[in-house]
């Protein structure tokens, strides 16, 4: 892979689930640095897209990661290549303690970076022996993010990290995502446009199972009319630079 090549190249990916044609030829790339944000209204196929990259849903098409075609690879092999995944529902194991959730995520051949995780989320160290199912939503999100930070991943896929969180926790999680993005490329699915504006470089907009727009995030968000058209948000809810809020 050369510097000019994308880290992820998704080409003509189709997904059918229970007879419904969810993704209808999705194509886009993820840069090898910074944050690429996957945007769109509810139910347009954003989460299915990231699941398709990870092989969590049956798909056709071609997906290349770091120069290697991973379309036929099983999920565990794709993840082991260096993709960390924070799912929309956080995916923490409720019956396992915080420490066990983190221990489970340790990969062979990697020295787990507990110092980084506990530096970002000191709460996790304090609650190490607490069952993850008893954590608050924000704490579970910290655990889900902390889990992927344990290993030296080459890409993080983070699906709606601020969804359903209290405003104070949203700020904390947003800080974490911003800090993570300085070190590792991130594919971010997010409806909180303030967070997107803060961290993302490229935008990929999905609608009805197709990519309908790619380009610079700020160019998109600064064009309120285009943002409303693509994301369905009102002019007033599109955050200007430095403004909070703005859920799509």
């Amino acid at each position: 892979m050369t510097a000019a090549e994308p880290l992820v190249d998704v080409a003509d990916v189709h997904v059918w689930i229970e007879g419904s044609h969810i993704l209808q030829g999705v194509s886009f790339t993820v840069a090898d640095h910074g944050v690429t944000s996957l945007l769109g209204r509810n139910g347009v196929g954003k989460t299915t897209t990231v699941k398709a990259i990870l092989g969590l849903v049956p798909r056709t098409g071609r997906i290349v990661f770091a120069g290697r075609d991973i379309t036929a690879d099983p999920t565990h092999a794709i993840a082991a290549m260096g993709i960390g995944y924070v799912p929309e529902d956080r995916g923490v194991f409720a019956g396992l303690t915080v420490a066990e959730n983190l221990r489970l995520a340790e990969r062979r051949g990697h020295t787990p970076r507990y110092d980084l995780v506990h530096d970002l989320f000191p709460e996790l160290a304090r609650r190490a022996n607490q069952p993850a199912g008893t954590l608050s939503g924000g704490q579970q999100q910290m655990l889900a993010i902390g889990r992927v930070l344990l290993n030296d991943n080459r890409l993080l896929i983070v699906d709606e990290p601020t969804k359903g969180l209290a405003p104070r926790v949203v700020a904390e999680v947003a800080d974490a995502v911003a800090r993570i993005a300085e070190e590792v490329p991130v594919l971010l699915v997010e409806q909180n446009l303030a967070l997107v504006r803060r961290v993302a470089g490229q935008a990929v907009v999905v609608d009805a199972g197709r990519v309908v727009h790619t380009g610079n995030v700020l160019d998109l968000l600064d064009d309120a009319e285009r943002t409303r058209e693509l994301l369905g948000v009102s002019k007033t809810s599109v955050p200007a630079h430095g403004q909070p809020g703005g859920a799509a």
Partner: protein
């Protein structure tokens, strides 16, 4: 009083037998969504392999260390059978539940039929080591010694499963996999290795139940595993498919209910009483006794 003590200990012994079968069944269903009707076949294989070894295997026998060698052989045979079934039959059918049911039902019929073809349908007398051949008097009740052995072995297996679940990486993977298998794979873990391990553990426990069931009943028959499997399924449903401890509690409950109902009503009504308990649990606590407990194996 002595009657109650006798019923309690024999109920615990029967519950211990159920636990050995049901724990593996529950693990397999919980982690892999496989309703393994072939599980009783592993019990049959364990029972007949133990009997065969006690008669024919050099170094093995029907008493003392020789019996332990025979049991070890039986457990190894059950473990091997379970591993081969998982690799050869179940793995190609993951996610295809109807086919899995068909193939495991087929195995549950084929294995006893094969055993019957080789050793006949008549019950075979099972070796009874001297150490567990008598009775022990407890609070006035003369209790067969083998019941205590069953209870002790089941307690050891329960402790082993709990330690496996909390102290080993594979145990963690199994517990997590029961909750969300897809997420485990998304962490970069090949959960299929755990499937094979869980099947092997389940097969070993069932084979051990086969050997100890031989002691309990005094004889072995080709379809012993099939009939015990029915109660193991009931235990799994009552105990919930998410907890080994729930499985143990349900095993004891089923064993006790059977023993007390058989003694205080009419012999044979114990089985009906167990079904009534099952119905009551299903109507009042969907998900079983362990519904509210988080986690699995632990």
């Amino acid at each position: 009083m002595s009657t109650v003590v006798l019923l309690v200990v024999t109920g615990l012994g029967l519950g211990a037998l159920y636990f050995l079968i049901a724990s593996g069944l529950s693990l397999i269903f919980g982690l892999m969504d496989v309703l393994n009707f072939a599980h009783g076949a592993f019990l049959t294989i364990g029972a007949y392999a133990t009997w065969w070894a006690s008669v024919y295997l050099p170094g093995a026998g029907g008493d003392g260390v020789g019996f332990l060698v025979a049991v070890a052989f039986g457990v190894a045979a059950g473990t091997l059978a379970a591993t081969l079934v998982e690799l050869g039959v179940i793995r190609p059918l993951y996610g295809r539940h109807r086919e899995q049911i068909l193939v495991t039902v087929g195995l549950s019929l084929a294995v006893p039929a094969l055993v019957q073809a080789i050793w006949g349908a008549d019950p075979l007398p099972f070796p009874r080591p001297e150490l567990v051949s008598g009775t022990v008097t407890l609070l006035g009740a003369a209790i067969p010694t083998d019941r205590f052995l069953l209870i002790a072995v089941a307690a050891l297996v329960l402790a082993g499963l709990l330690l496996f679940g909390t102290r080993t990486r594979y145990g963690l993977i199994v517990r997590a996999g029961v909750e969300d298998r897809a997420m485990v794979t998304a962490l970069g873990i090949d959960v299929r290795k755990s499937f094979t391990l869980v099947f092997a553990i389940g097969g070993a426990a069932a084979a051990l139940a086969g050997a100890l069931g031989g002691l309990y009943f005094g004889v072995i028959t080709p379809f012993q595993g099939t009939s015990l499997l029915v109660f193991a399924f009931i235990v799994v449903v009552i105990g919930g498919t998410t907890s080994t401890v729930g499985c143990a509690v349900a095993s004891v409950a089923v064993g006790m209910v059977q023993q007390f109902a058989n003694y205080y009503t009419v012999a044979g009504l114990g089985d009906i009483a167990v079904v009534i308990v099952l119905a009551a649990v299903l109507l009042t606590r969907q998900g079983g006794l362990a519904k509210a407990t988080a986690g699995r194996v632990a």
